[in-house]
Symmetry: C2
């Protein structure tokens, strides 16, 4: 098979295994082979090879997807770009960096921090920047700095045809032509392979503090989040933890109240005086909204301990519910619907008798649940996730705030987008007529024919 293929080709069982799964609950399906691309030309050659041999390719970054994006459906070759991980250029005067797709966000941040700069998009996992662009990742700081779209200036992509395109320009704004860059951001390797990114950096904020507010129940905490956003303060992070996750965090972080749902509110300010007043306003808003206690963490070590523990949470949940399958949901709703959405979660959890933990980037209306699925609970767990998505869609929300459609959410694409889903499939057909790139993920010709048949 390797004739005409570039990069390092592996069919070692260990490589096939790690490339057959991501952080989704799906079972591992080994790809036919793994191609480790080391240069853009390796990607081009592999694409051309795939076109000639009618082979399907799955781009692979760090493999941390939560939606089965990189899991083969049968016979695909994994195209791993993690070895293309160079920082190509860092231009502090332009607040920007040029990176290869395999560089991770932590890798970039280590280098950016030397210049007092930071890349803010933070999906918890140490994902690759190419994978983050491909899923339109966002995270804790999105409420202030935006997600991948807001922080990606330009992309280099290789199309299924082997053509290399540059999308976007390294400037802060442009109205030049159609926005193909944002079309490729979030396309999950189904339209092209990202081989270079120009991303925005931000000054490390001068003054940072985190408020920890504890509430009698999750609904009250969500209402507190709503009140915090309503203050109009420049909030940089606004995270919800239910009583279970707050309890897990309390094992790692001193000063937390176990068993009480919590909000973590981070404020960034350019001046100490401004920060003090802002903390005061936020403090009062949280107490008025029903917080039982509100504490402040200003010391760097204390703040970092909080976010490190937050990032480890998914693994803490696994430890707390060992031997289960973990079904992650990722709905986002308008802010005004978020209290109701949280209530739907508690009701479903009680009705279905499931172990469910709730967290979320709640300032953006984005809630994650993890169902720790015990033996025999597959059906109720699936029902939980389905009901939750349907509620989100009913109130104007989305089936995925940040993890993407992958395979698990394809069934909702038409419900969420109506006829626009058909046009997504047509766009896929335009850029990848042979359906070579990550077939069966997000959209594809099957959705088109299903929809046409249903007419």
């Amino acid at each position: 098979m390797a004739a005409g293929l570039a990069g390092v080709v592996s069919t070692r069982p260990a490589d096939l295994d790690t490339h057959g799964r991501d952080e989704n609950h799906l079972d591992s399906v080994p790809p036919r082979a793994v191609v480790f691309a080391e240069t853009r030309d390796d990607v081009v050659t592999t694409m051309r090879w795939a076109g000639r041999h009618n082979a399907a390719l799955i781009p692979f970054g760090a493999g941390t997807s939560a939606e089965g994006h990189v899991v083969p459906l049968g016979g695909e070759v994994s195209l791993d770009v993690s070895r293309m991980n160079r920082l190509v250029a860092l231009c502090p005067e332009d607040f920007r960096a040029v990176v290869q797709p395999g560089l991770t966000r932590n890798g970039l941040n280590t280098r950016a921090r030397e210049f007092g700069l930071t890349f803010p998009v933070d999906p918890g996992a140490d994902a690759s920047l190419g994978g983050m662009a491909a899923t339109n990742a966002s995270g804790t700081t999105t409420i202030r700095y935006g997600g991948m779209r807001a922080n990606t200036l330009a992309l280099e992509v290789v199309l299924a045809s082997g053509d290399v395109l540059r999308l976007g320009r390294p400037v802060r704004k442009s109205s030049s032509g159609y926005d193909l860059r944002d079309l490729f951001i979030g396309s999950a390797g189904t339209l092209g392979v990202i081989t270079e990114l120009t991303v925005a950096l931000h000054p490390v904020p001068e003054e940072i503090a985190v408020l920890r507010a504890f509430f009698p129940d999750v609904a009250a905490a969500v209402a507190g989040a709503f009140a915090a956003v309503g203050t109009g303060l420049p909030i940089a992070r606004l995270e919800l933890l239910d009583e279970i996750t707050a309890g897990l965090l309390a094992q790692d972080v001193p000063g937390l109240v176990p068993d009480a749902p919590a909000l973590f509110v981070e404020l960034h300010s350019s001046t100490a005086a401004g920060l003090a007043t802002e903390l005061d306003i936020a403090h009062r808003a949280l107490l008025e909204a029903g917080a039982s206690t509100v504490g402040t963490a200003t010391a760097q070590a204390e703040r970092e301990a909080i976010w490190e523990a937050r990032h480890r949470l998914f693994w803490s949940i696994r430890r707390a519910f060992p031997g289960r399958r973990y079904l992650i949901t990722d709905t986002a709703v308008p802010l005004s619907a978020i209290v109701e959405h949280a209530q739907v979660i508690s009701e479903l959890r009680a009705d279905l008798g499931l172990d469910v933990v709730t967290t979320g980037h709640v300032g953006d209306g984005n809630i994650h649940t993890v169902v720790a699925v015990a033996e025999g609970q597959d059906a109720p767990a699936a029902l939980f996730s389905d009901e939750l998505v349907r509620h989100a869609l009913r109130v104007g929300g989305t089936c995925t705030g940040e993890h993407g459609i992958g395979v698990s959410k394809r069934q909702y694409l038409a419900a969420e987008h109506g006829d626009a889903a058909l046009w997504m499939a047509r766009v896929k057909g335009l850029f990848d007529p042979g359906n070579v790139l990550n077939p069966g993920k997000v959209v594809g010709p099957d959705l088109l024919s299903d929809a046409l048949a249903a007419r």
Copy 2:
């Protein structure tokens, strides 16, 4: 012709005249007729009519485009949506509004302010929100709040086929499917007609102040802007005025120094204490960068006088150079190239002996010049604009920061985007195979055949 057409159809000379031009320097070309659509169904019916009769349509909002977007190239019908100008819904808890495309930004802001909210995108002119989305407008506040992309959550569009699509969801984030919303934003009526928008609102900032800094020359002022951005302060506006425009403004606004290039730096803060410290930091940075004087305007009346005069500037320039044609340019470059870009402007102005004024949203690297073209200066004026664009492209910039490609910048599309321009033309062919919508603007089948012929 009107058989099968919906809305109010006019062939009155006055209507044809106002729909035959925009704020570009091109001569007016009357459309065949003007259809004033009053409902979405009027738009659908007109689209179907155009498809059947092989007629071309030009969507028309407020007609303030600077790039000839709405000027017919021959025989098009103008589809005016300005009567679809209702505020459909205002949801203060969700910081969002649903509007018809003909509502103007001032119209929206009057209503939003009742709730302590504001729609920040500010292109100076009182443009329609549909036209602003269609051109991906931005403006003075984009450095802080982003342009139309960052502030448009969802669109309803009517395709050339008459299909109605909803693109995007009224949530703060989503990774669901391909981003067709951003494809239509900035497509200038060439892919579909926007019939409804869901836009983001922001709390009116608590504390606002404007610094006015005066510099010995434009290069120094641009360097001052660069220094101001480097402070990392949350700057909300950062505008450059050369000595001519500062002089024009000084006639309207007390306290300005005529004949000295100026920077206006607006800061928004949630606390008075924060604002005071921020002003202090900005003040010092501007003086260190070479400002000769720096003053502060905090009173609302004083601040508003500045921005009102800034918005009237284009008309003040016309008064200062009466009887000319006015050639507007709109380049954007990486911040680190902006001083050099300003130098190119002065050199070209001197070499070509033109009356040129320079302003710009310089915090975004976006510079506007207006050439007041006297009789017989068409060739040097065109050369000025061409050289300036080519310099912008050489340093990684864009031929249009915010006004769009329209007709005047089509020649640069391939130079700026390479093969991606071809794919833009293919996307146009997918959504509008009959080339019914604003043909000859932005991209189209002609670009595709030119490029293929050149291979």
